[in-house]
């Protein structure tokens, strides 16, 4: 059993938790973040990668629009390495109401979101694949953001301020005494030991899982309404900018160029279990149809991978307007003092990746007030530490790095330009990481071949340089292939079927990986 004593325990390693741990650490609290899996493995890593300009909300939710516009500018300044400022267009597609543009422009003006109508000819010149039948186009400051880089940046910043980040630590119990939080008990899943973290405050940032955490502390059930959405990554950057349908927010209305791919999203369907998210073929078809409206021929481009994420919206009838501060629609802090007679815990839900820093500011402000302390938020003022080599969001930076070291290093993953050094450095820094953990940081296996060529190389390197024995390395290889398949089979068509068949010939045909001896205990992480 490992014992720690801190001021604050942050539960959840998504964007909210990472933003919160950075904020509390910068305000001088001793803090620990616990996450049951890897950083950004939940909702944060399963969205479309859009850094909102606010345009999406200028008509439906002006308060969110204003927040997005402000936070977009802040994040672009403090986390430049995680962001690519592509710009965006809102376009009126054939059949859409051209009059909505007037509402949009008026809403943008009112909420301070930069927006400028451009001519259709100009839009088509800049985006040659865009539907030539568009009627209007409005330029906004949308961008692409890498959720993993964002979270790792915030987490690393928190570490510099003394915080500890404990991934693969599952909360097993929240200990209270006399109505006051005393400790968080965890299981270290990779180190296989129990951890007790004594504290007097818990910030519950578990997103779609926040209800489960609140219940552990003995609070009345917090109802999390989990809205499942699917996304599909298409090969190549089909556009230079983010494309949005100029309509009231609906399904499949956003296409984001990110890294080497373009991501279309999303749908919104009530999910019952945030740990069991399906990718129904009807929704895949819906997104492909929606893509076809924005980009004619979309269905003939190559779909690489799909995933489902879950929006953590909190619905709580027990809480009156007096004790919940609605910072905006979608962002809510639950104060368990009034609601449950429980001191030392706040739960946050809702929100968007773009406003993750602001959410953290709000919940930590609230905690400070409850503790009777005045410690101002400084997260908007200070840049997060610069990400290491090869950790930049922009694909062109990787190309430049490869130009420089092409004669000095091997490429492990040709699709995503992951060099041997990048892989080894990540492996050495995180000796217990699975290949999926490393993938989230390096993009290993996320390109067109979906791991067909890099996975065997990664396995070999893990044995030679990562101190893994062949059994574990082989199991990580198998786990990686099986996990890639989860996001492949629901969208498999066209050229990607061909790729999947080739990959099967490689791993099962040539290598016969399925017939290596099985370990006594299955490797799952």
């Amino acid at each position: 059993m490992r014992r720690l004593t801190v001021d604050v325990v942050v539960i959840g390693g998504g964007s909210t938790g990472a933003g919160v741990i950075r904020d509390v650490a910068m305000r001088g609290y001793r803090a620990v973040l616990v996450e049951r899996a890897d950083l950004g493995q939940g909702t944060t890593g399963r969205f479309h990668g859009l850094l909102h300009s606010g345009g999406r909300y200028v008509v439906s939710d002006p308060e969110s629009a204003r927040e997005c516009a402000a936070e977009n500018a802040i994040l672009t300044r403090i986390q430049a390495g995680a962001i690519e400022s592509t710009g965006g267009y809102f376009v009126t597609c054939p059949g859409d109401d051209p009059g909505f543009a007037e509402q949009f422009l008026a809403g943008a003006k009112a909420s301070g979101v930069q927006a400028r109508e451009v001519g259709v000819a100009e839009a088509l010149r800049n985006e040659p694949r865009l539907n030539p039948g568009i009627l209007r186009a409005i330029e906004v400051a949308d961008g692409a953001v890498d959720g993993w880089q964002l979270v790792w940046g915030a987490a690393n910043s928190a570490r510099e301020y003394g915080a500890e980040i404990l991934t693969y630590h599952q909360v097993t119990k929240i200990e209270t005494a006399n109505g006051q939080v005393r400790a968080v008990h965890c299981r270290d899943l990779k180190g296989d030991q129990d951890v007790q973290i004594n504290c007097d405050f818990v910030l519950n940032c578990a997103g779609a899982w926040a209800g489960q955490i609140a219940t552990m502390a003995g609070a009345h059930p917090v109802e999390v309404v989990a809205g499942r959405g699917i996304m599909i990554a298409m090969n190549h950057r089909l556009t230079n900018r983010v494309l949005n349908r100029l309509v009231y927010p609906t399904d499949g209305d956003i296409l984001v160029p990110a890294h080497t791919v373009s991501i279309i999203g999303t749908t919104d369907v009530l999910a019952h279990d945030p740990d069991d998210l399906e990718i129904p073929s009807a929704e895949v078809q819906q997104l492909l149809d929606a893509g076809e409206v924005l980009i004619p021929g979309f269905r003939d481009t190559r779909a690489l991978h799909a995933w489902a994420g879950v929006r953590p919206l909190i619905k709580d009838d027990r809480v009156g307007a007096a004790d919940t501060r609605h910072m905006s629609r979608g962002m809510a802090v639950i104060d368990h003092t009034l609601r449950d007679d429980l001191e030392g815990m706040l739960t946050i839900g809702g929100g968007k990746l773009t406003t993750y820093r602001l959410m953290a500011e709000h919940i930590v402000d609230k905690m400070c007030r409850k503790r009777g302390e005045t410690r101002p938020c400084r997260t908007a003022e200070e840049e997060v530490p610069k990400a290491g080599a090869g950790h930049s969001h922009r694909v062109t930076d990787r190309l430049a790095a490869r130009e420089a070291d092409r004669a000095d290093d091997q490429l492990v993953c040709e699709c995503e330009l992951v060099s041997r050094k990048m892989f080894v450095d990540a492996l050495v820094a995180q000796p217990q990481a699975s290949f999926d953990d490393l993938r989230r940081q390096l993009r290993l296996g996320m390109g067109p071949c979906q791991g067909g060529f890099c996975t065997l190389r990664a396995t070999g390197i893990a044995v030679s340089e990562g101190n893994l024995d062949a059994e574990r390395a082989t199991e990580l290889l198998r786990l990686f292939l099986a996990n890639r398949w989860i996001g492949l089979w629901p969208i498999l068509h066209g050229q990607q079927v061909r790729q999947a068949a080739l990959d099967s010939w490689i791993f099962q045909g040539t290598l016969d990986v399925e017939h290596l001896p099985n370990p006594e205990v299955a490797v799952t992480r």
Partner: protein
């Protein structure tokens, strides 16, 4: 002399072209890409798993032909082909490639793979067979730091933890050598290539001076009696490079196939292509068949478009050897509609749920394909051939995923020879 058009230059297409040329046909071989041999392991699988590990492949084929298949399910292509076709096909291949393939349909080799699994295969290249595992075999698995597709430590460790089918284990150790395929120019600050492909190594090993240098580096590190396992890069053009290296080392040597590009696969491809050319087969590379013409229930020509103009190839018979999904012979569009891409032939094995979530399970999609008659002609629901002179061979046939049961090469060779013989008989 009758003209036969073969479409596709994988194992099935190349074997069909050779066999047809042997019988005196005027063969044109149209192909779009390089053919699947370059992506495979460079051995000939007949049956590796059924579903347990197979030691006698022809016996497994015979069992498969006797297996009762429930109505509505697909049968393995071997059931229609029969044991004799497999024997004839394999014997033919051994006869045309005597330097490159050894083995017997009665037994499988059990050969190490580049991840250290032990893989059954029927015919292997002579450069591989010293790796046929046996209890207490002393192995030195040797890799190159500059060749990223082969990690000898992973291979050796996985081999050591595998109990052999007949009991016991091999005893493998590994050596990772700093030995470059391409050296930098003399006096150059560059120290040669760090990220070499299997092909770069294979070309280097074609040069005897390189082999001598390599043997000098490796030999002192070997222990008495060790068998040396190397990545399959021991020569591309020189079929005796491996034997020469073994002699220089004074140790038995074997090659372990790598992921694509496959040097052993390229050897097979080159040998079959060279033989076909020597027999007068005309190959037309880099073309895709875009259309075809039919008269009185027979295909009379296929159309290509190598440049601006189209070009028709007429024939008395046609062999469709375009492969499965991996090769482009079959395709599935974004609506889930599955087609044979060239003649839009009727497919069998289509299911509502053609893919499933378990990566290690069977994926029905990859079992669908063409059903053929005794002359290997694709048939429709009525059981009648769709075109009287169109034959289909290889991976496009329904009923198996060759990568799972390791039967792809056997199906290709048996069907190609059977189709060629049916055509020769018909045209005689």
């Amino acid at each position: 002399m009758s003209r036969v058009v073969v479409i596709g230059a994988g194992l099935a297409g190349l074997v069909a072209a050779n066999r047809l040329a042997d019988t005196g046909c005027d063969v044109v071989l149209l192909h779009q890409g390089l053919g699947g041999l370059q992506s495979g392991q460079g051995t000939i699988d007949i049956f590796g798993y059924n579903p347990g590990r197979v030691t006698n492949p022809i016996k497994a084929v015979a069992a498969e032909t006797r297996r009762r298949v429930p109505a509505g399910s697909l049968s393995h292509p071997y059931k229609a082909l029969g044991v004799k076709a497999v024997r004839v096909g394999v014997e033919y291949l051994k006869q045309v490639l005597p330097e490159l393939l050894v083995g017997s349909v009665e037994s499988n080799y059990q050969l190490p793979t580049a991840v250290g699994a032990i893989r059954p295969t029927c015919l292997a290249q002579p450069s591989m067979v010293a790796g046929d595992v046996a209890a207490d075999l002393e192995l030195a698995i040797v890799g190159f730091e500059q060749l990223k597709d082969f990690n000898p430590e992973l291979v050796a460790q996985n081999l050591n933890r595998t109990e052999l089918a007949g009991g016991g284990r091999v005893n493998a150790r590994h050596l990772l050598l700093e030995f470059r395929a391409r050296q930098g120019p003399l006096g150059s600050p560059r120290e040669g290539e760090l990220d070499s492909s299997a092909l770069s190594y294979a070309r280097a090993f074609d040069d005897r001076r390189y082999r001598v240098l390599f043997a000098k580096t490796l030999a002192p590190k070997l222990a008495q009696g060790e068998t040396v396992g190397l990545p399959a890069v021991l020569g591309l053009q020189d079929p005796n490079a491996w034997a020469d290296l073994a002699e220089l080392l004074g140790h038995a040597v074997f090659e372990i196939p790598l992921p694509p590009p496959s040097v052993p696969g390229i050897r097979l491809n080159q040998a079959l292509t060279a033989r076909a050319l020597s027999l007068g087969v005309r190959t037309v590379p880099g073309v895709r068949v875009l259309g075809f013409a039919v008269e009185a229930g027979r295909v009379v020509s296929v159309r290509t478009q190598p440049g601006v103009a189209t070009r028709d190839y007429r024939g008395a018979a046609f062999v469709l050897a375009t492969g499965g999904f991996e090769a482009g012979g079959l395709a599935m569009d974004s609506y889930g509609s599955i087609t044979e891409t060239l003649f839009e032939l009727p497919l069998v094995g289509l299911q509502n749920q053609s893919l499933q979530a378990d990566y290690w399970g069977d994926q029905p999609l990859f079992n669908c394909g063409l059903q053929v008659d005794a002359q290997l002609r694709p048939i429709g629901a009525s059981g009648e051939p769709v075109y009287a002179n169109l034959h289909a061979v290889g991976g496009i046939l329904a009923g198996s995923s060759g990568w799972r049961d390791k039967s792809g090469d056997g199906v290709a060779v048996a069907s190609a020879v059977a189709a060629a013989d049916a055509i020769a008989k018909e045209l005689a």
